[in-house]
Subunit: 264 residues, 2 copies
Amino acid sequence: MATGRTHRPATRSRGIPEATVARLPLYLRALTALSERSVPTVSSEELAAAAGVNSAKLRKDFSYLGSYGTRGVGYDVEYLVYQISRELGLTQDWPVVIVGIGNLGAALAGYGGFASRGFRVAALIDADPAMTGKPVAGIPVQHSDELEKIIEEDGVSIGVIATPAGVAQQVCDRLVAAGVTSILNFAPTVLSVPDGVDVRKVDLSIELQILAFHEQRKAGEESNADTDAADADTATAATPPAPRGATGGSRKGPDGDVPAVMPA
Amino acid sequence: MATGRTHRPATRSRGIPEATVARLPLYLRALTALSERSVPTVSSEELAAAAGVNSAKLRKDFSYLGSYGTRGVGYDVEYLVYQISRELGLTQDWPVVIVGIGNLGAALAGYGGFASRGFRVAALIDADPAMTGKPVAGIPVQHSDELEKIIEEDGVSIGVIATPAGVAQQVCDRLVAAGVTSILNFAPTVLSVPDGVDVRKVDLSIELQILAFHEQRKAGEESNADTDAADADTATAATPPAPRGATGGSRKGPDGDVPAVMPA
DNA sequence: CTTTGTGAACAGTTTCACAGCC
DNA sequence: GGCTGTGAAACTGTTCACAAAG
């Protein structure tokens, strides 16, 4: 296999790096704020500061879209807003369905940022018959029996899953079968989807766990300025001192106290 | 301050790559499920499938933690659960405050995954006096005047911001001043914080915009393998600054006036 | 002068493929 | 035989630094 990959001409025609795509919405937000204040132009430095990135990165990102700046001057705010909106596909309105109208689903339905930028809540769907017809954020909840019909009639291609984890996969399957090709998943589960369907996930507890990791590290550091106790307990690769809980049978942690990571 | 945040690379001591840290919670979740089903061991292949990653990546990730597997056999589930929990700092309970008890804050307060994995809601805080004392998810809301006191007394180091964007930065400043060093931000704003404070953000509209980008691309591809359809140009080097996109109507502009043209 | 746009160096991440151990 | 652990290769993303443009 010489250069394995290369079935797809992905590199050729339209290669905007994923990392750049993920930052475009950030730039767009900063630009929109400037636009509202009628600021006509910005430099990469200013805009970068507003978006929380560094200016070299921003310029590089913009260079993938084309040459939209003016040397010695900066970027035209309105023009950039338009270009980025177009690149992100926000010049059209995307109908979105939200499935699972619990606390979270209701919060999402009422979220302003939704309607404000290219998205429209086409329907709220819940499996509980008691919810049917009840208005949430001004939109009446529909029963999940209607799911396929709604998606087809409205041409919905983006679905938001805010159900309990246990039913997320089946909801996902139904959405995909009905024609949805992009899913935003709030349920704490790994969804499996066919090729060609995009899934992004938002998981509160994962985010908190990542923060806890860094938090713990800070706590450990502060007591030990910078000596940093190299081998406190983490065996660097190649060293086999992994305590390895009592050889064969025991699957307990090495230090007495056994974890018991709670079952829900 | 603008340039304040000096990117914090891996804290130069115990080098677990950030990308690996971000996946540990995923592995932990899959392992916890196996543990509940009393599965004693898993191979990297099985666990990877359950976590939605490939097995080489998983093995590489685990290799940063130490040598916790057994060749020819796999990984001991309980032992790994313990090791990862410890690595993430979940063997202790982290008190968390949620600021901004609107729709979203209430949803977060009631989110089960919170309490279930190493985190404890220490307080719900809102600036609206009408909310004070009202129980949300069984916890009485406290007024934001109490913020500093609560953080100090409970030793809270993680804060969740679920306020409107307009007040997020000041809430953030108060949290940090009171001792919080990790923040999970749900407000659609870039927060600036001093060095040593971690911020993670969750932004619904950014996620949707990223999906829209890919969705648009799919739509363009299906009719035209060549892409580039109505698209102006993606000229690489020198592109004549004659943008003038502005096809009809298009979308809303913050204020009517839309696709500006570059100034001469 | 000021500021963009970008090659080239660097850094981080993923994948490959196989040696080493069970 | 089966499976982990890991160097090395391939890839993706970031930063540097400067020539080119206004």
